[in-house]
Subunit: 159 residues, 4 copies
């Protein structure tokens, strides 16, 4: 079993999730689709609590959606009922409509799984991508910069 160390950047958005009976399968470990529910919840809370954008209001009020266009996930160490896992969100790239984040699931300094997830902002009415609003983009970019532990190339890409 791999033992990849992970220490989240100081100001990174991290939330703890208790592993419950309802998450676990007949082998006693988390049934993997539940992780994606947890990750989606983390992204919601990050919008609302870290970026200052009420996620429910964006979806239900303004009628935008953030469907996923790409997901990758490496499962390294399984989690069991009674474990408490930490989920940290990092911004990987920021496009015109798209946002790529990494969600790292870790505990006690060891990475348990890592997902890379790309969403695109869409109008629910037209079903077309829309550009991320400038203030939202700036809030995301500021988060990216304060959580990037090393000097990096600009994250802007055209999508």
């Amino acid at each position: 079993m791999q033992q990849d160390p992970f220490v989240p950047p100081a100001s990174a958005f991290t939330r703890s999730v208790p592993i419950r009976f309802s998450h676990c399968d007949p082998a006693g470990i988390v049934y993997f689709p539940h992780y994606f529910n947890m990750f989606n919840g983390l992204i919601e809370d990050w919008y609302t609590e870290e970026l200052g954008y009420n996620y429910a209001e964006i979806i239900m009020g303004s009628q935008y959606g953030f469907p996923f266009v790409h997901i990758e996930c490496d499962f390294k160490i399984p989690s069991r009922m009674g474990d408490v896992i930490d989920l940290t969100l990092l911004v990987e790239r920021l496009g015109r409509s798209s946002l790529g984040v990494a969600v790292v699931c870790h505990r006690d300094g060891v990475e348990r799984l890592r997902a890379r997830m790309v969403t695109a902002m869409m109008s629910i009415a037209t079903r077309q991508p829309v550009p991320l609003p400038q203030p939202l983009r700036e809030a995301i970019e500021a988060y990216r910069q304060r959580t990037t532990p090393y000097k990096s190339a600009p994250a802007e890409r055209s999508i």
Copy 2:
């Protein structure tokens, strides 16, 4: 729409749950099976945090289960993404192996839905009911008494 007031007893076990995107259906309200996940989580936390019994340890360590034998639920007021609901657990009856609880979902003093759920303690190995251990029974009975706002008949029944 009914507006039933609900104020939980002072020492009742209550936890708040944010309604997330993942809970909601195409009509924008909580898809009802998700409530049962939330109720199961509440019961877990009540065992662990209120009664002092680690629920995960009882299941995974001692190999007991608490399958539901009966559920009833009245849905009164729907909840939407972005709502935060409060869940309160009340003990309704205590049998030899069985435990009947009410879970009341409420917000701002108004009841949104109420479930009555009966579990039976089982051995996972033998698939037979087992008596609730005496110290657990006493902890449950003490909780019942301190959260019952009125004089009541004894809760013991034989099952």
Copy 3:
């Protein structure tokens, strides 16, 4: 464990569901909220295949919803991965907006669990109950009559 015999009426709507890994919990049996998903799917298929009303079209096209207002369920015999269970829908009552059905889960002539579920037809826009359309009501009533094995009192009630 109870062994209640169940033989569905000859023309009752029955569908089989395989119990999958994803349905099962650490004790190796179906985690109960999954049953409600299965029951909801049965109701969908009953509308579409038995009554001739496309359920998706009623919801997404006509913008009606069928939220549950009451659910009761008795769990008698657990099901395990690899089991195939049969689900039979019976109409119990028909109100102005409301429909009460029983879903019986059975296998090899033995009842495993039985749910009684009451829905109300609602307008998604106004969030108010609407009367069941007359042709739909007649289709439901005809189904009720052809699947009721005994002479019964009229099912109409005002709600």
Copy 4:
């Protein structure tokens, strides 16, 4: 929106799945974790119906598990309630303990999403990978060959 054509190889394992109310989110499209449930179900059915290995028996009887170690998914065209989608399983690689499959979700000759999923066969007791049994490996390899539309390099890799 991309329109990638997809025609499954003649003898590929394909199952249809109706998109239900329970799959859909407030935007009216499938909430993405549900796809992974569908894919897991497809893999189960493929073992049982195509390869002749009872999946439930391998898990519950022989106490092996097939946890995912890697997942990638590209979401191209969303699906809505009432759609019926086709899921086709293709084998991409076969390691000592690991199996890489592609699940292609398509409809009317157009690809809607594609996942690449790698599992490893594990002993539930020891939590260690075990080699795929030789007859199972041969059945998988035979499936791979009869569903590969072009001459390909050997799929064996060491993992």
